[in-house]
Amino acid sequence: MAEAQLTGWFGPGAQPRRGVHFAALLVMAAVIALPWIEPDKFTLHILSLIAIASIAAMGLQVLLGYSGQLSIGQAAFYGIGAYTSALLTAKLGVPFPLALLGAGIAAAIASLLMVPITRLTGAYLAVATLGFSIIVYLFIKNEEWLTGGSYGFIAIPRAELFGHVLREPMSSYYLNVGVAAIVYFTFARIESSRFGRAINAIRLDADAARASGIHVTLLKSECFVIAAFVAGLAGSLYAHEVRYLAPNDFTFWKSIEILIMVVIGGVGSLAGAILGAAVVVGLPEYLRAIGDYRMLVFGAILIATMLFGEGGLAALCATLARRVGALLARLPRKLSIRNEAAQ
């Protein structure tokens, strides 16, 4: 109860938030029940990949959607996380949970290199992040002794938790979805906090933020570190889900994919980042039936989503939910009127 009050304090009223929490609970129930209803290995694998992608997308959401910094180099941190985890488990025999944490930390440390560029904004910042990701890609591709180079990194062990190797797609599904859920609820908490308000303020008006005593470059750097940390986690989960890494998984295109997830999902919306990940990862898989046309259809869907407005899928879903809610609210009244008429 105290929690509900806390989140409602600064927002535009508690009512819509309660709706959001209810929706989150419904989604969680569905996510937990799903493997029992649809235990198809392929589906679970795709859902795992969606959960993994959504983690990286939520990180970029904090960076872009909250603090307003456009990065088109998140694949660098994703890649650093993936290779760190692969190296730690396959070459050094580090247990998976530690490797997962290590992957996040390695990516976070690498992101400290970005601190000097947080003074940049807009396109300048974006190009600088791109430059960083190109360097990381070239490193992965050329340092064969460490990463396997173009041959790829093979024989990555499966994830294991508490001594249990996660052999079943269902168990790795729960791992990936579980980490995604933790990231979601972590970021949801900062939305209405001093930190969350400050980074939003920086995005909305950096001058006014400075005039309120906010240390703009420090907070911007913190957002880079947070986004990199979770991108590293996502990379680690990916490495152990797919168990084979190639440099081409971490090119410029991967960064763009993560950006597309955030933008079509709805910039500024955590749930949107997850929806966006579902579309970007899931759709091409299910469009395989139409062969070469699938990327064409995918592109058309991107354009159509953008035409629906800036809010992306999250805003679209919210509008739909509101309409359905209004309809349901009117329904009993209509029925009672009809009953009265019948009497």
Binding site: F10, P12, R189, R194, F195, A201, I214
Partner: protein
């Protein structure tokens, strides 16, 4: 001892403050002394350098030469954020509110430097975080009521009426109880009633212990609330005195009536 007494009386001192923009001298060797606990009006024709001087005090621009002293400390090289944390807050001529945030959230940002909860406090919902959030909310609410926005605390800033937005800027600037408040045309675009409310508000802010530097074109507002006035013209100080002295000053009268509008191209 004597320097302490000096600093007690003069909260802010600008000595020979100059700012060049290319070949233009926007502010030219201006001296300004602001008495602690006073409202200091800063007036002058368009392009006189009032807003530039305010931006130099706030740290948006660095001085080309000269010295700024705040509470007897040299702040000439301090950043905007550092000056804000030291107790210099401001409003903006062209309203700079956080448009997508509620009125309450806008004011809460003003307390950022007074509070300490970080990322992990929020995630773990530590007692410190909850205590701070509660106090931020209470203080922000109190200030919104103080400026007369008690009815719109949960409205988004960009949905507020223009006059309310002006008040919200002031609320955000005073919530941390700054030592020095810089107001950049707080009554611009307001009608007579609203402007009178703002003058009243400025007087109450001063009475609560905040020193105010006021840049304003509404002469009735300036003359009503200022304890002292500095007049700028062409980037230089033209006159200084009480409102009564300024209204009698022949140089000021000439600048306003004789040659008004002759310097439009200079920095506003």
């Amino acid at each position: 001892m004597s320097t302490d007494a000096h600093a007690d009386e003069w909260l802010l001192e600008a000595r020979g403050v100059t700012r060049r923009f290319g070949g233009l001298l926007a502010v030219d060797a201006v001296d300004l002394a602001v008495r602690r606990g006073s409202v200091h009006g800063l007036i002058g024709p368009n392009g006189a350098g009032k807003t530039t001087l305010l931006n130099l005090i706030a740290g948006v621009y660095r001085v080309s030469s000269g010295v700024l002293r705040f509470r007897a400390q040299d702040i000439t090289q301090h950043s905007t954020a550092k000056r804000a944390r030291a107790g210099i807050r401001r409003t903006f001529q062209n309203l700079k509110l956080f448009s997508e945030m509620t009125a309450l959230e806008n004011v809460a940002i003003g307390l950022h430097a007074q509070t300490h909860a970080g990322f992990f406090d929020a995630v773990l919902s530590t007692p410190r975080h909850r205590r701070e959030e509660r106090s931020i909310r209470d203080r922000s609410m109190a200030v919104l009521h103080f400026v007369g926005l008690g009815d719109v605390v949960r409205a988004r800033a960009d949905t507020l009426a223009y006059g309310h937005r002006r008040l919200l800027e002031i609320a955000r600037a005073i919530v941390a109880q700054p030592t020095l408040l810089l107001l950049d045309e707080p009554a611009a675009g307001l009608n007579v009633t609203e402007a009178a409310h703002v003058s009243d508000l400025i007087a109450r802010i001063r009475d609560d212990g905040t020193t105010v530097v006021l840049v304003e074109h509404h002469m009735d507002v300036v003359m009503r609330v200022s304890d002292e006035i500095t007049v700028l013209n062409y980037g230089r100080r033209l006159a200084r005195g009480t409102p009564a002295q300024i209204q009698e000053d022949p140089g000021v009268i000439e600048a306003y009536l004789g040659r008004s509008g002759g310097n439009e191209s200079a920095q506003a």
